[in-house]
Amino acid sequence: MNAVLALESGASFVGRAVGAAGRATGEVVFNTSMTGYQEVLTDPSYAGQIVTMTCPQIGNYGVAPDDVESGRPHVAGFVIREASPIASNWRATGTLDDYLAAHGVVAIAGIDTRALTRTLRSSGVMRGVIGTGAVNPDDLVDQARAAPAMEGSDLVRGVTCTEPFDWRASGPPPGFALDPPRRAARRLRVAAYDLGMKRNILRRLDSHGCDVRVFPAAAPAAELLAMQPDGVFLSNGPGDPSPLDYAVANARDLMGSGVPLFGICLGHQVLGLAMGATTYKLKFGHRGANHPVKNLRTGQVEITSQNHGFAVDQDSVPDDVEITHRNLYDGTVEGLRHKRLPVSCVQYHPEASPGPHDADYLFSAFVDAMERPPSR
């Protein structure tokens, strides 16, 4: 079956349908990671986005239940160069094609994904539609133009959990995860805001010695503080941070409580806003597993997993906040730390999955912050 990807720019690409039939609308972005398509599919941060994998052979190792980052795929659509007809891996339980179909993910294969990527790189990310079967590309272009923009919409509500729950460790087979250099001396209690959280964050916190209770994004700060956590975590998530007033307000309340705070990705942006900075949309975002980030405190360079379309504006960072990490590709802010309060956050993904484990030390640092006696 044919499929067409149309962009708001008017361009369209004809390829073959993979996964579910139908139409999918979203912001078209690209990810340059060469491994981890299943993790990408199931990362809630991709809600509302049609993800293009620049790596041309996708689906080779199939899908496996341990490789999901949430309960289901969240991407709006999926674009690949060539889909594997088989799943070749001892852990695989099915093929990618079947998995996409089973979860209703509309996807297109066989198009010049590099041409598409170059378009997105030079013109910026844009809205697009994938349609399968006999579709008129012009109609799809119109549909893309009519789609809501990502800026200003709250996509978190669609992916956060509805009720608080305690995370019970379930992870990949032993040997796959890095052993932390040390675990917390006693099990620490962490309250986590689920803005669209990846499971590997929970697995890493657990592995570093934390028991985590996960809260819906809109839960008041007081509800989290009521469990007397050793620390509070703000997760990754989809879309634009600016409409998330409630989350920013909660973050401010938590900052006032003196409890150690740690945020990743959208959580970082929310903490940035709470500390007084502003955010803006990047032209084509950072999505991949190879971005160098410099830790400005140690001088070390980490190869990081990235997935964000918005960033904290470095000029807006207030004096009492230190920029701790920078992206060596474009100099954007990758990490912040409050100079007085135990608040730190990073734009990238120390939990990796997919991606390198270089930044796992940030979980250790969070554990250290929680174990340190309050300074005041």
Partner: protein
């Protein structure tokens, strides 16, 4: 951190001659390193015995020593140059071993030379398998279970623990020489005893077999601040059990989940840290059990390697260059990424295409060799191909191999039964990939093939898809082939020829059809970042996609066609010439464009040319590049004379399609190859040629041969490296030859020449320009007599035994021929002198194998001169009027791969067998020859016992050799007949049994190290196997075995020179200054 300031002079060690396991990838990495160091203002001293390299060009380093890579000569270099540091990580295992030896001998400490890039400890931990295992255990990384044996008895005792199959790995041997897999105790006994012998420290590792597991490599880098990056992951399609150099490999790894990949990355980081590579690149190999995911580390190389060259070409990340900078103290983030310019080198390349590397073997040269692939590398070259999908890259790679008919994946002529096929699949061999396609054609399931080969089903499924596409196209037929189907086939990577073969039409018909449909490849850039950032470097590959990024310019440009995969007869020397053409034309203001598919080379470094197309060297692929480059309206010229036969074969086709070929016209090239036209020309010119004829059938061959008189040299026309060339002495041998050779090359007739026995042979390289001026680069005298392929013969410049009157004739003939053939550019002529007459053997109006050697000896870059001539500069304009001279004596000696091919005879003949060459320079012939021998790995004895056994024809002439040896204090022993003859001439000689005569025989004496030199000329068929055994024993024990009388005389001269050897060394720059000084004085 800026670079360290305590370094002023750095010594870089190259990898020496091209051998199996160490090829021109180290010229690529060494050249990059030298350039990087000099760009930092450092004084670079280079040592490498291989003259055919770009790195030994006198302008690449400040001082260039083409000397043997032994610690004594290295010490002399260190004493003269006083380097502050030694960079041992860009010259392969050879450089690491030499560095370790220099450290062990105390030379580094004595002269205060710091090792940069890798410490002795790191080298030792990585190389010594026991230490490596301990190191891995200490960081919790699993390795296959293993144990060391220092004696044969130990080994046999241990084997019970591991069961079969079991791996045997000798310590410290190059490319796994002497290693192997034993499936039973017999094989084990043989491998263990050979391995212990071959290991310089007489140790072997007995190791648990992980045969059949998936094999991966990571190319990683680390800087002095502990920043770590993976440059590339490589997956071996052939699972564990086949040396990675013999495996078809793919980048990136395609069957690893992110969790598996990151686990491997974490392990690699721990390994490079634990082994102690403080800065630079390493290659780390892993195996994964496909059934349960268990991962073990196999080995690590604390240096750049063949795989890192591949990784550099596959990603666009120049590993060796960055490694050199890291060794100076830079951090990764301080070094810019050349391709994106705006981003730093501290990142991990991500690629949006698939790269496939396919090895190329030359078993046809060694018919007795075992074609089974094991842990010991046997291939001599490789191709790399790039496509947007695996299928496309794989099919492009297959046609890049240039195997002609035997390279076709489908419709193999051989009828195999399923039992045979099963065996060919189970036991890895050089033809296994063809067997896989045969099995697919016969309807075998992927699962059945997987069981036999243990190849991951993902790859097999891709192969099955290729087979299915082809089958479906064949069913449709050419006439009803739709544009969509054609596009699908092209997109999958099929070449026009392959599609034509499937449809029963010629490739031309498919090309024409493609043109009608406007189906042409586009070119994508290799940019390290999957298009995330803009690329400033036109490093391109062709594919059938929507958008083209070639962006050709309107500058006048020259496309240089490279030489494709290394093989015996066409290797580094031709790549050297292609690079030089590029350098010269760039200086002349042309835009230079390279087309090549060999990842090991300098020519495929994106730095070498303005625009690089990494494409197969077929007419289809090259024409597409030409058309794309023409599309911007500029004048586009092609150069075909520097890359050996590969581009020459395309010359007429390119010209026919309207491409402009510069230099000697394709017609002249054809004239030189066309026996009849050429004989007429020689007749007109009055240049004598040995009687010759051509034949297309056995009867005709007999007729021609009897007319000429035996012995005759027979060979197919258009051959490379003496392929299928033989000297036959009688009609029976001729019949046997015809039966085989006609099969080898059916389109072309067989050439029959009178064989000039005992003639002196000479090679001439010259350059001619459009005005008819000719400058002779040099006359090189072969040390071995006629009948031995010129590529296998040692040679010397200036000639040492040829009278001046003959040299005058040779120079005169050369000029006449160059003018008659209207040569514009390089010309190589082979002459023979017999009975006081100079005969012409052959003319090649193109770059030859000896051009780099001669350029190094004379200090004049002949290939550059030729390239300038081809774009219209005259020789006079280039300041070249007189024939070139040398200051000193330079001997070129070949290097052979016999040690890797048990059972193969080491005797030389008209079929070329050497893989590489070295050069020895000195003030006398004897010294230069001795150095060349040492550089080629042959340490000549300065005393001891010499065994002599020669055929009757040689007996008379061996007497002076024997007398000289006796005078040098050697004890003489000989076979019965030779001994009698020598005694009759007053020499004191003991008789030793030949191998079939009784014991102790000469083999025993060799084993007991009682014979230090063997002189053995072939004795005819009956004693062939006897001699063969002796020659092999001699080779395995490192005893020089000279198989020609002229070689024996040269050896005696060398031994005499060795007595006075002081290890004094001179850089090329000094030799070349000597020529200038000499000519200034005239």
């Amino acid at each position: 951190m800026p670079r360290r300031t305590d370094l002023e002079t750095v010594l870089v060690i190259g990898s020496g001659p091209i051998v199996i396991g160490q090829a021109c990838e180290f010229d690529y990495s060494g050249t990059q390193a030298c350039k990087a160091l000099r760009s930092e203002g450092l004084r670079v001293v280079l040592m490498n015995s291989n003259p055919a390299t770009i790195m030994t060009d006198p302008e690449v380093a400040d001082r260039t020593y083409v000397e043997p890579l032994s610690w004594e000569y290295a010490r002399s270099v260190i004493e003269r140059e006083r380097p502050d540091a030694l960079l041992p990580t860009v010259g392969g295992q050879t450089a690491l071993n030499l560095a370790r030896e220099l450290a062990g001998q105390g030379v580094l400490e004595e002269h205060g030379v710091a090792l940069i890039g890798a410490s002795v400890d790191a080298i030792t931990v990585a190389e010594d398998r026991l230490k490596f295992r301990e190191a891995m255990e200490s960081i919790g990384i699993e390795v296959p279970a293993s144990e060391y044996a220092r004696s044969y008895e130990d080994a046999v005792r241990m084997v019970d623990r591991f069961g079969f199959p079991v791996i045997i790995r000798p310590s410290f041997t190059l490319g796994g020489v002497g290693g192997g897999i034993a499936y039973n105790i017999e094989e084990f006994r043989e491998l263990a005893s050979r391995g212990i012998q071959l290991s310089p420290v007489h140790e072997v590792l007995i190791e648990e077999s992980v045969i059949g597991w998936k094999e991966f490599e990571l190319e990683v880098m680390r800087d002095g601040a502990d920043n770590f990056v993976v440059i590339c992951s490589i997956e071996n399609i052939d699972p564990m059990g086949v040396h990675t150099g013999d495996s078809i490999t793919v980048a990136p790894a395609l069957t690893l989940t992110d969790k598996e990949y990151q686990r491997m990355r974490d392990a690699a980081r721990r390994i490079i840290t634990r082994v102690g590579v403080e800065t630079g690149g390493s290659n780390i190999q892993f195996a994964i059990n496909p059934d349960d995911g268990r991962m073990v580390a196999i080995e690590m190389n604390p240096r750049v390697s063949r795989s890192s060259a591949l990784a550099s070409k596959a990603t666009g990340f120049p590993i060796a260059k960055i490694a050199a900078k890291l060794a100076l103290g830079y951090r990764l983030e301080e070094i810019p990424n050349d391709i994106t310019r705006l981003t730093p080198a501290s990142f991990e390349p991500t690629i949006d295409y698939v790269v496939v590397k396919i090895p190329r073997w030359t078993f046809e040269k060694f018919p007795q060799a075992d074609r089974t692939l094991t842990t010991q590398m046997k291939s001599v070259g490789e191709v790399m191909a790039i496509g947007r999908t695996f299928k496309e890259a794989f099919l492009k790679g297959m046609r890049s191999l240039e195997l002609g008919r035997s390279g076709r994946l489908f419709a193999a002529d051989d009828d195999v039964d399923s039992g045979q096929l099963q065996r060919r699949l189970v036991s890895p061999n050089d033809r296994r990939i063809w067997s896989i396609f045969r099995a697919l054609e016969l309807g075998w399931s992927v699962e059945r093939i997987r069981e036999a080969t243990r190849i991951d089903p993902w790859f097999l499924t891709q192969f099955a898809e290729i087979a299915e596409l082809r089958r479906a196209a064949g069913l449709v037929g050419f006439r009803s082939l739709s544009a969509e189907t054609l596009a699908e086939l092209k997109r999958a990577g099929f070449g026009d020829e392959e599609i034509g073969a499937a449809l029963g039409v010629g490739g031309n018909a498919v090309a024409a059809r493609r043109e009608e449909e406007k189906l042409a490849p586009v070119y994508k850039r290799i940019d390290t970042c999957a298009a995330e950032f803009e690329s400033f470097t036109p490093y391109l590959y062709g594919t059938y996609e929507r958008e083209c990024e070639a962006e050709p310019t309107d500058r006048p440009k020259v496309i240089i066609l490279g030489s494709g995969p290394n093989r015996i007869g066409q290797g580094l020397e031709f790549d050297y010439c292609c690079c030089h053409a590029a350098f010269a034309l760039r200086e002349q203001g042309y835009e230079t464009v390279m087309v090549n598919c060999n990842p090991e080379t300098v020519s495929t470094d994106y730095d070498t040319v303005d625009r690089l197309y990494f494409e197969p060297l077929t007419l289809e692929d090259v024409l597409a590049v030409v058309r794309r480059e023409q599309s911007a309206g500029a004048e586009v010229s092609c150069i075909v004379q520097f890359g050996g036969q590969t581009p020459l074969k395309l010359a007429l086709g390119l010209q026919g399609a309207g491409a402009r070929i510069i230099g000697t016209s394709p017609d002249s090239i054809d004239l030189a190859e066309d026996r009849q036209r050429f004989a007429r020309l020689l007749w007109d010119l009055g240049v004598p040629q040995a009687p010759s004829g051509i034949a297309t059938s056995r009867e005709e061959a007999r007729e021609v041969a009897s007319g000429i008189g035996y012995p005759v040299v027979v060979r197919p026309s258009y051959v490379l490296g003496g392929r299928a060339m033989a000297i036959v002495y009688d009609p029976g041998a001729l019949d046997r030859y015809m039966a085989e050779a006609v099969d080898a090359s059916p389109e072309h007739p067989i050439l029959v020449d009178k064989f000039l026995e005992d003639a002196f042979e000479l090679d001439v390289d010259a350059v001619a320009d459009t005005t008819g001026d000719v400058v002779i680069g040099g006359v090189m005298e072969h040390i071995e007599e006629a009948g031995i392929h010129s590529g296998d013969s040692s040679c010397v410049v200036p000639p040492y035994l040829v009278p001046e009157r003959h040299l005058r004739v040779i120079r005169d003939y050369t000029r006449r021929l160059a003018r008659a053939l209207k040569v514009v550019g390089l010309l190589n002529i082979q002459f023979a002198i017999r009975d006081d007459t100079v005969y012409l053997l052959e003319v090649n109006p193109r770059a030859s194998r000896t051009v780099p050697y001669l350029s190094k000896a004379t200090g004049v870059p002949l290939a550059k001169v030729a390239a300038r001539v081809m774009v219209g500069r005259t020789l006079a304009e280039q300041g070249l009027v007189d024939d070139l001279e040398v200051a000193g004596v330079f001997v070129k000696a070949p290097v052979f791969p016999f040690v890797r091919f048990p059972g193969v005879d080491t005797i030389l003949g008209p079929e070329m067998k050497s893989t590489g060459e070295v050069m020895g320079g000195a003030d006398t012939f004897g010294k230069a020859f001795a150095r060349a021998q040492l550089a080629a790995g042959q340490r000549l004895p300065d005393s001891g016992r010499a065994f002599i056994s020669v055929n009757d024809d040689d007996k008379e002439n061996v007497v002076p050799v024997a007398r000289d040896l006796a005078a040098l204090g050697f004890d003489l022993v000989a076979s019965k007949g030779t001994a009698a003859y020598l005694r009759a001439h007053g020499l004191d000689v003991d008789v030793v049994f030949k191998i079939n005569e009784g014991r102790p025989h000469v083999g025993d004496r060799l084993l007991n190290r009682e014979v230090q030199l063997v002189i053995n000329t072939p004795l005819g068929r009956e004693s062939y196997f006897d001699d063969l055994t002796m020659r092999r024993v001699a080779m395995l024990y490192g005893v020089p075995c000279v198989t020609t009388l002229t070689g024996a005389a040269a050896t005696v001269a060398a031994i005499r020179a060795l007595r006075a050897e002081t290890h004094a060394v001179h850089p090329l720059q000094e030799y070349h200054a000597g020529i200038t000084a000499g000519s200034a004085g005239q």
